[in-house]
């Protein structure tokens, strides 16, 4: 039988939620309590509902209940026993609802902080009712798990005692809160030392024998206190801490996956911060194997590759161990299982990148597994973090000169998505793409036209004008690498896009690192066939003068070195070129003894002395007809005398070049007559 037409349809979802919000303001305590419970049940673990109620203003309403019920409790024994109980329930439920909003949800944390709930919760930690204390501590713990939580100042007043009191509590939520505050707020070496001096490590170590929650909270806090601080680590290793290292090591075998992961992270922090600890090869291998196993875990599988990365990053010995443990194959197997969620994919790509940062065998293995397809696919993923991680991986794989020489990366499958990422809306993705491009364009097969045709140069030139100096320096570095051993046609195309004026402004950039890359670019431009030198003589020798001016005014050795190699390369040309370099090094009206050449020959940096002496080798090159005049000039400027002082330079390269330059100078007489 059809339902009665007169029966009212259920209210729409939206109005049901508004109704619930309305009930939070009810004059009846019981109704409020029920509304709080309903609210809490609806939002637990449901981000969408949290957001809906957030928009409806639920957090200020709940905070208002917490505030009034806390105030009522503080006003003393005015209410009867049942009322006290009811009031405490209101406090507990409102605190719990606030905690639910804050749990794993930054928008919720922000709303909670904005509504002023934080100080209310903090005051409740000293409330006489243990259940109230537990509820408040739990909510505060969730807040402290967010980056948005205020930093706790351990060094101020009695704050350290408060932390000690939290960790001394019998209540698990309270000790967990203490640990969370440390994990969130301890950042400086001074804070780490203060916590260590206050005996916090011992308290945290005791918690390692507690419940799963306590173990995990303690491991996280310990990692925070130990990170980058060998002194505190030494203290941690002392016997008075009850063999804490052994306990943490044991926890890498715990049945709970998260505990195993956190124990591994703690050991990695110790290993990375104090290399004298954990020398045992077995523990290193064990860490690698555990982290590989944790990759399979649903709960912590996303975080395991990040922990693996922190273990192996920039450490060749560990990369070799990981390689022998088949880490590359296992990571690639995960990629094959795809599609993976963003966080997992990002972590795996970063771990692969770190594996390939130094070892050629790792790069070879990754390539032989035909895994680069996953990397190129990831270049076009929705997640910016994944795109950047894919670039990072590509950057490290393309550090292989062997593969660059084989022209392995200069093809459309890599170049097109990478060039597209130069337009990415996220700066960190652009930076990551620039790094990968810088390597790929080194390509020794001189197939660089393809990169230009894909619009790569055009966009690199745009980025070289960025206001962000990191982007600028990386864009210029990519152009520099592109210009390495490139043919004339490509040089022309690069210069026509870049223009002499832009290149001059990059040589004179306010940032020394940009100047260095721009000068290295010019150095490459004037290398190769003799005609290439003409590039710095265009537009009234705009670039050559800019190099000269920069060498007079710069202050960083790397800038001088690149600038001197520009002059060296130009001075390897014909008479006009050599004379132009002489003019830049010894301007007509300047005092020769203050010349930059004189300064560079006296530099403490052997690389700069080498570059300077090479310029002299070219300027005194015997088969050039003007050499005799230049030698005379150099002799008058005291340069030849200085060369005599350098024939036993401690740097072999300098010594040999100084002897060559001096020998060439002497072919025109020793200047004694």
């Amino acid at each position: 039988m059809p339902a009665s037409a007169s029966s009212a349809p259920p209210p729409p979802t939206h109005s049901r939620r508004e109704d619930l919000i309305g009930r939070l303001s009810s004059s009846s305590t019981e109704a409020k309590l029920k509304a709080l419970r309903d609210l809490k049940n609806q939002i637990i673990g449901n981000r969408t509902k949290k957001l809906c109620f957030l928009k409806l203003g639920a957090v200020p309403s709940v905070t208002s209940i917490l505030s009034s019920s806390s105030a009522a409790a503080a006003s003393g024994p005015a209410c009867a026993g049942d009322d006290v109980e009811l009031n405490d329930s209101l406090i507990i439920q409102s605190a719990a609802a606030i905690g639910s909003f804050a749990c794993g949800f930054d928008d919720g944390v922000k709303a909670v902080l904005d509504a002023g709930a934080f100080p209310l919760l903090l005051r409740l930690i000293s409330y006489p009712n243990d259940k109230v204390v537990g509820a408040a501590a739990r909510s505060l713990k969730f807040i402290y798990q967010s980056k948005l939580a205020p930093r706790y100042d351990f060094l101020q007043g009695n704050n350290m005692e408060f932390i000690q009191s939290l960790l001394n509590s019998e209540n698990e939520n309270v000790t967990g809160l203490g640990a969370s505050i440390i994990t969130h707020s301890c950042q400086t070496n001074m804070e780490q030392k203060a916590l260590s001096d206050a005996g916090i490590i011992k308290k945290l170590t005791c918690m390692l024998g507690g419940s799963v929650t306590q173990k995990d909270a303690s491991l996280e806090s310990l990692a925070t206190i130990l990170k980058g601080n060998p002194d505190v680590i030494s203290k941690f290793m002392e016997p008075e801490n009850g063999g804490a290292l052994g306990t943490v090591t044991e926890l890498t075998k715990d049945k709970n996956a998260r505990t195993r992961l956190l124990a591994c992270i703690c050991l990695i922090v110790i290993k990375n911060s104090a290399p004298f600890c954990l020398q045992d090869l077995r523990i290193k291998t064990k860490l690698i194997l555990i982290l590989l196993e944790l990759l399979e875990d649903d709960q912590v599988g996303d975080e395991a590759p990040f922990a693996l990365s922190s273990l192996i990053a920039e450490k060749e010995d560990l990369q070799v161990l990981a390689f022998e443990a088949n880490v590359i194959d296992k990571l690639v197997n995960h990629l094959r299982k795809g599609p993976l969620l963003s966080r997992r994919l990002e972590g795996i790509l970063i771990a692969l990148a770190n594996m390939c940062s130094r070892q050629e065998c790792c790069r070879d293995r990754l390539l032989s597994l035909e895994a680069m397809k996953f990397v190129t696919d990831a270049l076009s993923q929705d997640s910016g973090e994944v795109r950047a991680a894919a670039c990072f991986c590509l950057k490290n794989v393309s550090r292989s000169v062997k593969n660059l020489s084989a022209g392995l990366f200069m093809n459309e499958s890599f170049v097109i998505p990478l060039v597209r990422l130069l337009f990415d809306e996220l700066t960190f993705v652009q930076v990551s793409a620039l790094d990968a491009i810088s390597n790929i364009v080194v390509d020794f097969l001189a197939n660089k036209t393809m990169f230009i045709q894909c619009g790569g140069v055009k966009q690199l030139v745009q980025l070289s004008k960025s206001m962000d100096s990191t982007i600028r320096v990386k864009a210029v570095c990519a152009l520099r690498n592109l210009t390495f051993l490139v043919n004339d046609k490509c040089k022309e195309e690069i210069l026509s896009e870049l223009t002499q004026l832009t290149l001059r402004s990059l040589i004179c950039d306010p940032e020394a690192c940009v100047q260095e890359q721009a000068l290295a670019l010019v150095r490459n431009l004037v290398d190769g066939p003799l005609d290439s030198i003409q590039h710095v003589f265009a537009e009234d020798a705009l670039l050559l003068h800019a190099v000269g001016q920069q060498l007079q005014s710069a202050s960083k050795a790397e800038v001088f070195i690149q600038g001197m190699y520009v002059f060296t390369n130009v001075a390897s040309g014909n008479e006009v070129h050599k004379e132009a370099v002489m003019q830049e090094l010894f301007p007509p009206l300047a005092n020769d003894s203050e010349s930059i050449m004189f300064k560079f020959l006296h530099s403490d940096d052997s690389r700069l002395r080498t570059a300077a002496v090479w310029a002299l080798v070219n300027l005194t090159f015997p088969s050039s007809c003007g050499a005799v005049g230049r030698v005379m000039k150099l002799r008058n400027a005291g340069i030849v005398s200085q060369l005599k002082n350098m024939v036993n330079d401690p740097c072999l390269d300098v010594k040999l070049r100084a002897r060559t330059a001096l020998g060439q100078s002497m072919t025109f007489g020793d200047g004694s007559t």
């Binding site: 550090r399 000169v401 020489s405 150095r523 490459n524 390897s572 040309g573 390269d653």
Partner: protein, 215 residues
């Protein structure tokens, strides 16, 4: 040249006990990335005299790992229509990453000594190499760099080109003038094929240097 031998002897030293300074060969700009060399490889056999013109370009250099690599182009190879380009990787004998003893590629320590002693600049080192493969030598100020170059793959022709890259080169580089001498070693090829290269300046009146920086 006698001068060089004398200089070589005086530049050679053994690290004193407890010294932890750098004993690796120092950086030499003439052996840096982008540098080019040209010369010949003598491939004469008992039947006929023959030499191939050879061009070499340095593409990568990592002194910390004793690593060098580049390409080698053989120009007038009889059985090839085009110049044959191979990619090679080099082991720099730095006594840390690599010693004078090859220990692979079919070369015995006798083969090693037999080839190294063909370089006059090796003679001051011989006695110590016989003792400990030269592990205790300080080569940081020695004006010659000893290397082994092993071709890894053909860049522009297939493996069916009728040529072999099974062997490797014993190489001696002179830091003074950038000249390179080498001997090809392959038990199945003519012995002691000599490689002789000089630093090229591509029509310039002087030396030119380019560079790149991997990220």
């Amino acid at each position: 040249m006698p001068v060089r031998v004398v200089e070589a002897s005086s530049a050679l030293s053994q690290p004193s006990g407890g010294t932890s300074g750098n004993t690796l060969p120092s950086a030499c700009t003439l052996l840096s990335v982008g540098q080019a060399f040209s010369g010949t490889q003598n491939v004469s056999s008992q039947q006929k005299d023959e030499a191939w013109r050879v061009n070499v370009r340095i593409q990568g250099c990592d002194l910390d790992h004793g690593y060098l690599c580049g390409t080698m182009e053989a120009l007038n190879v009889p059985m090839a229509d085009t110049p044959v380009v191979t990619f090679w990787e080099g082991e720099i004998v730095d006594t840390k990453n690599y010693t004078f003893f090859t220990g692979k590629w079919g070369a015995t320590s006798e083969d090693d000594i037999k080839h190294w002693t063909k370089f006059p600049s090796f003679s001051p080192l011989l006695s110590q190499v016989e003792v400990d493969a030269g592990k205790s030598l300080d080569l940081s100020n020695y004006p010659y760099i000893f290397m082994r170059w092993k071709e890894q793959y053909f860049v522009n022709v297939g493996t069916d080109c009728g040529l072999t890259i099974a062997g490797f080169y014993y190489v001696c580089f002179s830091c003074s003038d950038g000249s390179i001498s080498g001997f090809y070693y392959d038990p199945n090829s003519s012995p002691f094929q000599k490689l002789e290269l000089k630093s090229t300046n591509e029509g310039r009146l002087g030396f030119s240097f380019s560079s790149y920086e991997l990220q």
